[in-house]
Symmetry: C2
Subunit: 227 residues, 2 copies
């Protein structure tokens, strides 16, 4: 597989390689279990081994690569247990966020309504990518409203694991249903109903759960064996 040159930019080579590799991994162009090497990637992107090496370190810390010293570097297989726990973390934080927002709705209602309207537009136009972006923005906005945007950044880091699974289930998810659930959350927030908002958020996040086992069955070699 040949890869186009990295476009020139302000950032350093190392960071550009990080971005390029992350995209390849999340979109499954690089598959879990694939063996890569510094020289290999360096050659493909037309840079030296040094920035590639630093990119490997960053991606390894984010859980996307596994560096086996003096042996090889491989694209980390998806850990079912890791996915489960990433969801646990996300649910813990998002539930706490929605509680806080519901406790002091402020101008949340108007902001959320606008976002949901945008999602309906994207969904009607079959703009899957746009919808995904707005979906993410919905959750990020809730974090901002709760005054903990930094916490969302944390979720974002660990969300890459989930994004790989999401990519494997593309098309399966129903944006209609997601929008309905978003409305339910927004309504509970507007009403200041903490308990209701929490329950709605839990239900919203739980929906993705059922897809995992099916995905594992479809692509068993992309996942770590249970031990």
């Amino acid at each position: 597989m040949t890869v186009g040159e990295l476009e020139a930019s302000e950032e350093t080579m190392a960071l550009r390689v990080v971005g390029a590799l992350r995209d390849e991994i999340v979109t499954m162009a690089l598959k879990p279990g694939d063996v890569i090497s510094e020289s290999d990637i360096a050659g493909r992107y037309g840079v030296s081994r040094q920035p590639v090496r630093e990119a490997f370190i960053r991606l390894a810390q984010q859980g996307l690569l596994l560096i086996r010293p003096k042996r090889a570097t491989i694209v980390k297989k998806i850990s079912p247990d890791g996915v489960r726990q990433s969801r646990f973390i996300r649910e813990s934080i998002e539930v706490e966020i929605i509680r806080r927002v519901a406790a002091r709705p402020g101008d949340a209602e108007a902001v959320l309504a606008e976002l949901i309207a945008g999602q309906e537009t994207a969904s009607a136009a079959d703009d899957n990518l746009g919808f995904h972006a707005l979906d993410e923005l919905f959750h990020r906005t809730l974090a901002r409203l709760a005054g903990v945007e930094y916490a969302w950044q944390l979720i974002d880091d660990h969300k890459m694991q989930l994004d790989r699974v999401r990519f494997l289930t593309l098309g399966v998810s129903s944006s209609q249903r997601a929008i309905a659930e978003h409305k339910e959350i927004a309504a509970a927030v507007a009403a200041g109903d903490s308990a209701g908002a929490e329950a709605a958020m839990r239900a919203h996040l739980a929906r993705a759960e059922v897809l995992l086992s099916q995905t594992i069955a479809d692509h068993p070699d992309y996942f770590e064996p249970v031990h």
Copy 2:
């Protein structure tokens, strides 16, 4: 300041430098705002710039260093807002953990009682360091009992920010009170009282909150200005 050589070990140089620098930062031997350079650290530890550089990258991703390209690398100042949000994350996750454990106590009661007994021994012997270790183990054990030990690892990463604050308030904290609160949590867990366990955990974590503003007042130059 001169630093002893790194003891020989199996791991790579880069990882040893990471550990050494992390300790220096958390214990405030390297103070927030201090300017360091790859060459400087390399000379002090007797290695080349390369492993030091890789250590910098890792520590920067963990939020302890700030790399300003072509300029300098500095020990990141503590962000009061970051501390607040790190606590938010920790509370979110720990509350969810304690709920799960309380919902299925299992053999939690015996395990927790044993840990608390150890803490009392350490406290009676004025073994502050040992008590701290057992305190951490208490929370980690709860995560294990909930089946989400990986989630604790996440907290651990972001706990370094909090540890720097904790180091500044050493001696202030009362281990007696912490033990009493641990007992309260364990009792609620044993009784299967989810709501009570959650409330006890929130109170336990909230106790540290009051110390922050005092600490900022004592060491204003260690913290980022509010913007």
